[in-house]
Symmetry: C2
């Protein structure tokens, strides 16, 4: 049985831009299990934009990531030892055990998952927090009607890719915004969006061309110029689900110039956090699991190998270098 | 019977800043009444910020004000001739007859009002469109709970003054934002707000001091730095009713820097136009009428005399030179 754990801690608060030096890899002893505890081997780490927000010591919806403590984050793996009545070795589980090789849990927040039809890592993506985030934004905030146009930024990402596919399942026209021709081709051709706009080369004109009937719902992951472009194309009574503002996460100032559209078009704009919709989770996970198992919901993963490469993969994701859900494969 | 009418028309679209030269006073013949028409003498014109938006030829929620046509606007006056079965000479009426001495109406949008307990001009203010606007923002969007804090900008104005008083009637703490010590003293001492912040001298620090428990609801009339200051103080799950963005009406760029608060605090931000809440009007007018008649709802008027002074009074209002509801008294 393993006695040494490896983990990545937050070494210092970023001075605006986070770097690999912001993190530190360290070895720590793995304690013996107490009664009621589970020892889990993390096979997959989930890397998500929200983590960047936690690294700053700002007033936010949760406490900041503590310095010198294991970086937070979603994990998927296998129970290798258990003194907990509900878990046994071999169980596949997802949880929030953070950036480490092994995790010890009292079972709270640890969920056994069925990997017979859905791959384990998908429980960190389309059948996990990112998928449910998309589901809540579409079904609880934007609520697109048939024939309406829904725009989503970071459209090839873990959340955005699901947003557009769910909007299409509700009969809406889905338009993605993504960075570069490769991602845009994927969004259109593989994910089946009606159109995709490359924000690097054609944001404003491209969005205009891709939304001939303007925009009824926007799912915002990016902010800044991307959000401004969407605001300028909104229809009356449009809805904007504000899920992330990744453009401003790394200390970049991000003024919004088209706020006036909220008034002129009588928009509803709502910021949300998926954990605050607990009633939506069972419904969303059941629907998303079935869609993935049956192959009707497509997704893509960017996989970094090895715990030591998590910081670089994370920083790359903040800059859009990932393509689909960013994961770290361990072991 | 009068045969000559005087009116003010929009002479040209403003090149960013509107001036008195943007308008033109002219005399036109008053046509004979056709069957079904009413001739009304306007005693009061209402001047409102929304008119500035209409003067630009921009995509907005309504068609722009036509060039060389009578400026739109709410009016209150007396029927002096009628070939309409529902109106008779001597009736006091409010309507949307625009910036002119006399108006001819087919009766649509013309409402007879009772001036026995509420002065005629109040039907253009607290018991008219501005009052109902405040009522809808408070009761349909912000919905303050007892003990919550509601902030309103342009707090001494026709809408803002009612917002704070209605919020207090619901048990909330009302904090105004206004320009200058005189307006702030009025908002506190006469209108009974819990606090008022002078945006000219103490916007950010003043608002912090005036909102020790932060802000749960904001009623936004101004935009720009005033809105940014409110965004920075919002509590989780706060609501922002966006009623006006007067700071940007006259071509002034108005970037918003604290949009991130919408995400971090999971705010609901909603732009609205009072005419799109038709079901609220009877309820709101009944409540506001009773509050004014019984002296429990205070208000103040800025009165310009003479049609020829309407443009200057209007431009002054856009710059905050009015104090309370801006009216023009005719005749």
């Amino acid at each position: 049985m393993a006695t040494i754990n490896q983990r990545i801690v937050l070494a210092s608060r970023p001075d605006k831009v986070a770097t690999v030096g912001t993190f530190r890899l360290e070895e720590v002893p793995l304690p013996a299990l107490a009664e009621g505890q589970v020892l889990e081997r993390n096979d997959w780490l989930s890397l998500d934009p929200y983590m960047r927000g936690r690294m700053d010591d700002l007033r936010s919806y949760t406490a900041p990531q503590a310095l010198d403590e294991t970086m937070i984050g979603g994990t998927a793996g296998e129970v290798i030892d258990s003194r907990h009545p509900k878990f046994k070795p071999g169980d596949r589980v997802v949880g929030m055990l953070g950036w480490q090789r092994f995790g010890v849990s009292d079972g709270k927040g640890l969920t056994r998952v069925d990997t017979s039809r859905v791959p384990l890592a998908a429980y960190l993506g389309p059948v996990g927090m990112p998928g449910v985030t998309a589901w809540v934004g579409v079904n609880r905030i934007i609520e697109p009607r048939e024939g309406e146009t829904v725009v989503v930024s970071a459209a090839s990402g873990a959340v955005g890719s699901v947003v557009g596919q769910l909007a299409r399942l509700r009969g809406a026209r889905a338009v993605g915004i993504a960075g570069g021709p490769e991602k845009c081709a994927y969004v259109r051709d593989e994910l089946g969006f009606d159109a995709c706009v490359d924000y690097r080369t054609e944001l404003v004109q491209g969005l205009r061309a891709a939304t001939p009937d303007r925009i009824d719902g926007a799912f915002e992951n990016v902010g800044g110029a991307v959000l401004d472009a969407a605001l300028a194309r909104m229809n009356a009574f449009g809805r904007i689900a504000v899920c992330g503002l990744i453009a401003g996460y790394d200390g970049v100032p991000m003024p919004i110039h088209n706020f006036r559209s909220i008034l002129v078009n009588r928009l509803k704009v709502q910021g949300f956090i998926v954990t605050e919709f607990p009633d939506a989770w069972p419904l969303a996970l059941a629907e998303l699991g079935e869609l993935v198992a049956s192959g009707r919901l497509k997704y893509r993963e960017s996989i970094a190998d090895g715990l030591e490469n998590a910081p670089e993969a994370f920083l790359g994701m903040l800059r859009g270098r990932n393509f689909g859900k960013q994961l770290v494969r361990l072991g």
